[in-house]
Subunit: 645 residues, 2 copies
């Protein structure tokens, strides 16, 4: 079966399901029906108000008896037959048809009121049925009830209401390698902690459906079939089988679906999201006409399945409008190739810069749920094209409110743990700022500034000829861009080695050893440039370094390689070694600076950022990480300063 | 104390509250923390994946051993030391660093695999920490947790999480005249059914706070004080006292607040919403530093208080961003005066017409909750101006998704019960359409068409000279606008009189009687024009008709006046008399038509509308109302047809 576009997948499900048979109706107390959908038209039982009511504190009168009143010829009214005192909300006394505000009444004596202006009929009176007339149509069928609807219904004496049933569903995670998070497991190699059920649950709750989940079901066809049949028996309208992290030989969902129903869709033409499966049960299941879903195992694929397939189907089932996300045109900060024939979901770190929204594509792996937690937007690159260019304007779904984009600091550049520290600090401000980082290396940061696609860039580029940092590179690659440079910290770079340094590594000369494997940083990273400088000084050819071609994008990733034995050592910062309890062989001190274009220096986000890095509090926290010095932190740098400030 | 703008009211509350003292933190299971806000930074406990994992089904190899492979010179690998079979998700066997997809492997014999292309290192491998690196910052403080965040947290082994407490609040409705809806009351004159607590509850639930409510508290200062103190004792951070429908002498909230705290705001400069009260408790309450709120009694005032005052304060307390509504520029369909010095909330029936969103202002009474259920948008007219003009572009908050506006049929014109019937029918379509009606009378409808501010107009204008309907008026008032006219129904107009017709009313001649009071329709209504025609024919001057100057806007409102004895009779349709079990003295048959501009005739909403009114099903339902004939229903009318089609 071929993959189909998500819209087609949704249409197939709609065509195969009879929602009026599938979902019944139920009567619920009106005050518990917010978010539910009316099963039929609702007519008012009582009017609101049920009586002519005074809308002001004052006196009730017959308007006609005041028509002659003038400022110089007031009309006197007698208490009882000609006027009566009323408060707001009181019923209008019989025969009266207007209210005069108490401040416009002169009380001549105990029983006489003087009026110096005519009252018009029904003035300051809320008339019967002003809001609701008994018997009128209050709400039509298929209305998703809002808080105000509940108010109107109760006001009209509707205390119970017939609504459509909620969709009942269950998520069945599968996989022998998948651990139940309720057991608080410590995963070993080959094991993953099950979490897709909870992502689904979060979506399902936001849709207002009744969603349960089970512990992981082992990779066994019969066991899975039993679990699905049990869910149908329990009255679930939709059963979602979540694939494990594995695929292929262990994926029994399709076989199970085919044994109790018809598979409608086997794969959608969206990446991530492709291995989405849809089916409908038949008589063999005992409960025909229910929806079967195979959700992909990779978390981002599952999210695409929930958002693009399940959300539209579920809302249609319930007769609700699909909530719309805000959309905006954003400028892509990087060229983004994509596969023709497949629509591709690109997660974006996005923020407003000037009058544009700049969006840096995040990593694309379907297994990377953190790209969803980091993203402010998602764009879909059409199946008709081979990608999008840097600087191209693309239409994106916003994951945060549009105003939030003014509070995002888009950083592109070198990675440093201090940025995470900063990110947390900025979220603690009275008006929180969100620092989003695209790890592109120091050179990548400068390139982004040149393209106008970052608010600032972190760089630690050492120039051996001058002994200076960053300025020589700025001069070369940022010609014509006026920037200021502020130091974030001086940091220690060194070789991260296993605890106890079992191989006795003492410097770059050891990288030539046969028993030493190195893990490198990506091209353009300041740390790689530093390594190359040290290799050159020591007269070592890169080809002599075992593992030189293996790249990671962050210090922490380098440290993880050492921790797991995938490499014997890598060049990185002390903080990364310390975090994973590894040893550290110091090699150099370097300046990590923030490069800020002059045109952004008055941006309130930048002035806030600079205020924060100048505070004693943050300096103490930076130092506390170990391997950092803060003598220059927050100070503006000038060319030629080197490490001396 | 003067009224203050809502922004100022919010700032005063923020300044008076210490949120870090008021709200504590708590530890909750991660899978129950969606929507909560992190109390501090969260660092990953485990990496994800925790191992190098195969990303495809195939064989694991050392990349180096495949570098020589060519299509014409395949490399043979031995099972065991040179390759091993792996499925997606399996840990990469020790020493291997790449996966070759099974479809690219030729199995020569049981232990030998042939490879005809080199594998590059780490191909088809998800490396350790690809998604999450242990110890790294996963989420910063003050993060509102999304479903994807929950997935990331569990993947990283975070099974419990410290979050900010939820705001706890209670709504205390007040008023002797207010009935507890849980008792399913039948209100008498002077009584209203309490519903504001449930509107508040609906808002509070959408904010994710813990909201309780009580039965109505009687109008007694000490009783109210006790209720407030009890709520504080119960740990409520915010106590909302809902005023009854009455105000003035019975409003004890302020006195109570002053006795246990400080009043910060007494009135906001927004209508509806003005009588909003804010205070903060002091030592006398036993629980200093809590928020006291006096919510207005009129439902729309209360809604403005919730949206403009409480929502920002509550979100600030919880460290959440205030959810943003979509905004759009809309064209006002009518001149809308407003009071300088007060911001005015105008509820709008809005829909897209062509490339504009046209918005007809709904009734403005603060007591009319149905204006909130009918509106698709709200605009705020600034305190600096005296109103907005017809055709003026104003900025509006959308209460529905923007795409919903394409599914709204904006009707301006004469009211007929059949429109409610149609509205319900249109909501039953596979893609529901929402019919919103601005009751402006037949002439008002034609005027709206002329101004381009309605998709269609309902009209039943009788021209005595020609004996024809609508066309003579279209010729006069819609010059240059090309329209088509379709009949909705022929309907019976007559005098609606009390059950049993106690005054023996038989025709318009009776309207001259002293003991008969009439209730009229508004100027421009076809029914009023019909009345004037009958009065003229009978030689009766309008001044002879007792009550001629009293106007209502709908047939149902006229009928309610008769039902309650506010008038002896009024001219209206049979359906209105029947709905309220009143008697009906037939006077005339008339054609109620839908006037549709030619430029909208291909609009899918209009073609759907015409399809619906041509169905036998709807004709039966129209007839079933009584007082309608459907011989012409759905047929296009021509000038001169009169009642004969």
């Amino acid at each position: 079966m071929e993959t189909v576009p998500p819209e087609e997948a949704v249409e197939r499900a709609k065509a195969a399901l009879d929602r009026d048979t599938l979902l019944s109706t139920e009567t619920v107390p009106t005050h518990e029906s917010c978010g539910r959908v009316t099963a039929g038209p609702i007519f008012a039982r009582y009017s609101s108000p049920t009586f002519h009511a005074a809308a002001m504190d004052g006196i009730a009168v017959k308007a006609e008896s005041t028509f002659a009143a003038r400022e110089d010829a007031p009309v006197a009214l007698n208490h009882g037959d000609e006027f009566l005192f009323v408060n707001t909300g009181n019923p209008l006394p019989e025969g009266m048809n207007a209210v005069i505000m108490i401040e416009n009444v002169v009380q001549k004596d105990e029983v006489t009121a003087l009026i110096d202006a005519p009252a018009f009929p029904w003035q300051h009176v809320r008339r019967i049925g002003e809001d609701i007339v008994a018997t009128e149509l209050l709400l039509p069928q298929n209305r998703e009830l809002t808080p105000c609807d509940i108010g109107a219904l109760i006001s009209a004496g509707i205390y119970e209401i017939e609504v459509r049933e909620r969709v009942r569903t269950v998520f069945l995670p599968t996989g022998d390698e998948v651990l139940n998070f309720l057991d608080k497991p410590e995963p070993r190699a080959g094991q993953v902690i099950e979490s897709n059920s909870q992502v689904f649950k979060g979506y399902a709750d936001s849709w207002g459906i009744d969603a349960a989940w089970s512990k992981p079901v082992p990779d066994d066809e019969d066991t899975l079939r039993e679990a699905v049949l049990k869910a149908l028996e329990d009255g679930r309208h939709m059963v979602v089988v979540g694939a494990g992290s594995s695929a292929g030989s262990k994926d029994y969902s399709k076989k199970v679906f085919e044994s109790i129903g018809t598979v409608l869709v086997h794969g959608i033409s969206v990446m991530p999201g492709k291995p989405t499966l849809l089916g409908v049960t038949d008589e063999r299941s005992g409960f025909p006409g229910r929806l079967l879903v195979g959700a992909p195992g990779y978390p981002v694929s599952a999210v695409v399945c929930h958002e693009k397939i399940l959300a539209p189907i579920v809302h249609w089932l319930m007769g609700k409008a699909l909530p719309e996300r805000s959309h905006a045109d954003v400028i892509l900060a990087r060229k983004t190739p994509s596969r023709p024939g497949m629509r591709e979901a690109i997660r974006l770190a996005a923020g407003r810069i000037g009058d544009q929204i700049i969006a840096a594509p995040l990593a694309r792996g379907a297994g990377m749920i953190t790209t969803m937690t980091r993203a402010q937007a998602v764009t879909y690159i059409s199946e008709d094209v081979e990608g999008a260019e840097q600087g191209q304007k693309v239409h994106a779904e916003l994951l945060v409110g549009e105003a939030e984009l003014d509070r995002v600091l888009v950083h592109v550049g070198s990675h440093d743990n201090t940025l995470d520290l900063l990110a947390n600090e900025l979220m603690g401000l009275p008006v929180p700022l969100r620092l989003v980082s695209s790890h592109a290396g120091s050179m990548g940061g400068l390139t982004a500034l040149k393209a106008g696609s970052a608010l600032f860039a972190g760089a630690h580029l050492f120039d051996p000829d001058s002994g200076d940092f960053n300025f020589p590179f700025i001069g070369r690659y940022l010609k014509g861009v006026d920037v200021a440079v502020f130091n974030l910290a001086i940091r220690h770079q060194g070789l991260i080695v296993a605890k106890g340094n079992p191989l006795g590594i003492t410097g770059v000369d050891d990288l030539k050893r046969d028993d030493v494997t190195f893990i490198n940083r990506q091209r353009g990273a300041g740390t790689r440039i530093l390594l190359d400088h040290h290799l050159k000084t020591a007269g070592i050819d890169a080809r002599e370094v075992n593992g030189y071609e293996n790249e990671e994008f962050t210090h922490m990733a380098v440290a993880v390689n050492v921790l797991t034995g995938a490499a014997s050592c890598g060049l990185g910062i002390f903080a990364a070694a310390k975090a994973l309890d590894l040893d550290f062989v110091p090699l150099a001190r370097e300046r990590y600076d923030l490069v800020i274009p002059a045109r952004h220096q008055d941006d309130p986000r930048i002035t806030t950022l600079l205020d924060v890095i100048r505070s004693d509090d943050i300096k103490a926290k930076i130092k506390n990480q170990g391997g950092y010095e803060t003598d220059l932190t927050g100070r503006e740098m000038e060319p030629g300063m080197g490490l001396n400030g």
